[in-house]
């Protein structure tokens, strides 16, 4: 694989993405929404100085944060429990970009001229993958940092430490890029077989279901956050899925079948 060719594809994709304001909005919006809801709740508790016993079932879970003020414990529970949703951003956003990229090129018939150059298919896919994954990784990391500091600032500095725990720093550094990569590869595999971006996104959207399941189970189970073992297990699982997706992708994105299946 030649870096100059991957870089050329990446720059082209990035220019294309920057000119698509709707898609750029789709990158930033979900991340901000996921961060805004718990931050709003934390601010509400802080401003109104609420007693945790007034917050429904949440008071049951403040035992997960022993030795701190019950109000801060309730805020910490809210802050840490919503963090699983940060894993939805790398699952959803890159897929939207990747499917739009591949299906868009199929519809515009711009794949053939590219494949007619010395560019190899793995170089094309690598450039597209990095270009699709990078915005989601940057958005997730950026909103994650903002989330930690803003909640610490409006409520209690200890909330920042709960957000930037070792487990979540490892999850951000490993699980987020891996989920992004898997999401992009899945988007590419699905896109290579369909000619409509919405269909591709609907099929590929199944990837978010397990993550939503984990987040919901975590919330109702009252566990404050993942353990390091769970993050590492998640890394291994997603890495395995990436391996499968690479094999399927190499088969699905074969130069000849892409050209002869163009819409």
């Amino acid at each position: 694989m030649r870096p100059a060719y991957v870089a050329a594809v990446f720059v082209k994709e990035w220019r294309d993405l920057l000119s698509n304001r709707l898609l750029l909005g789709a990158v930033a919006f979900p991340a901000l929404v996921f961060a805004a809801i718990p931050t709003g709740l934390v601010a509400f508790i802080q401003v109104n100085n609420l007693d945790p016993h007034q917050l429904g079932q949440i008071h049951q879970y403040i035992a997960n944060f022993p030795g701190i003020d019950p109000k801060v414990a309730a805020q910490a529970f809210i802050v840490t429990n919503f963090m699983a949703y940060f894993l939805l951003i790398p699952a959803m956003v890159p897929m939207a970009i990747a499917t739009q990229s591949v299906v868009g090129e199929k519809v515009a018939r711009s794949l053939e001229p590219q494949l007619a150059t010395p560019l190899e298919v793995p170089e094309l896919l690598a450039g597209k993958t990095i270009a699709a994954a990078l915005p989601a990784v940057i958005a997730t990391w950026g909103v994650f940092a903002l989330y930690g500091y803003v909640n610490g600032a409006i409520a209690d500095p200890r909330l920042t430490r709960f957000v930037f725990s070792d487990v979540w720093l490892v999850a951000m550094a490993t699980l987020v890029p891996l989920i992004c990569l898997f999401s992009v590869l899945l988007g590419i595999v699905v896109s290579s077989r369909v000619t409509d971006a919405r269909t591709a996104q609907q099929i590929g959207g199944f990837v978010v279901i397990p993550i939503i399941g984990v987040a919901v189970a975590q919330f109702f189970g009252g566990h404050a956050t993942f353990s390091m073992q769970q993050v590492i297990l998640g890394d291994l699982l997603v890495a395995g899925l990436i391996g499968v997706a690479v094999i399927v992708g190499a088969w699905a994105f074969d130069r000849e079948s892409i050209l002869t299946r163009l819409a």
Binding site: K12, A116, R255
Partner: protein, 321 residues
Amino acid sequence: MIIVEGLRKEFRRVLAVHDMTFTVGDGEIFGLLGPNGAGKTTTVRMLAGLITPTAGSATVNGHALGEDSQRIRGITGILTESPGLHEKLTARQNLAYYGRLYALRGAELRRAVDRYLAVVEMSEHADQRVATFSKGMRQKVAIARALLHEPEVIYLDEPTSGLDPSAAKTVRDFVAGLRSLGRSIVVCTHNLDEAERLCDRIGIMRGTLLRVDTPAALRRHGRAATVRVELNGARGPESFLDRLADLPFVTGAQALDGALVVELADPAHETPDLVATLVGAGARITGVHEDAPTLEEVYLQLVGEVGERDLNLLPAREEQP
């Protein structure tokens, strides 16, 4: 130089092309003429290293197809059936992207982009997004893209499609100019007039090559060329028929509507002798016209010959859905 021997391509159970054998020399423009689904695009895709032949072999400037496809793609310029540009990028950004894929860098890349934008008369639109372009403007940018890296072998699929007559002439003149630079050029077209004006040789195909020859030779296919000699004078055309019967190169002659219609094997060489003989016999000639079949007539005849017979072997349309 392109050398093709017995090239064949099947898509699952559909036979797209078979028994394709031809050569395209350096500095030659070779036209591939055929109806939709004839296999022109498939042939070009195989020769451009985009898809793998099922059987047969070909070399492109000494590089064997299938063994060195990346190098073949590097020396090949291709104008695809559809311009296939990146809509959100400007014309300059489109060309710069492809220039990088063809290993052009820095000042060399900038010079090539500027040069070919000027060649296709798109310099003043260089920094506009392709999405705002007309069909003809897109075609011009796509042509610039195909030529940007000074390819040794060029495939042009309907090069003047969507262009106004003036732009079409510019493109034709430019392609003709590439001939003098020694490039091997294959033009796929439905435009018989364009093929006749541009191509040194034409291959008429439908699943396979039905006939390959120069445009002039193709026009003579299937029937002798005739020369119509208009006369003016006291003697009628019938009076010269006996004299014409003595000429060895005349294969037939008749008087028709006050003129002589003479069949010749090679009008280009034999017409002067015919005229000299008639003038020597006292004919007063007012005009001489070659009456050869048009390329369109030859094309329709050849394509029609295989039509019904081979339809079960051939795809109903171009292989892409």
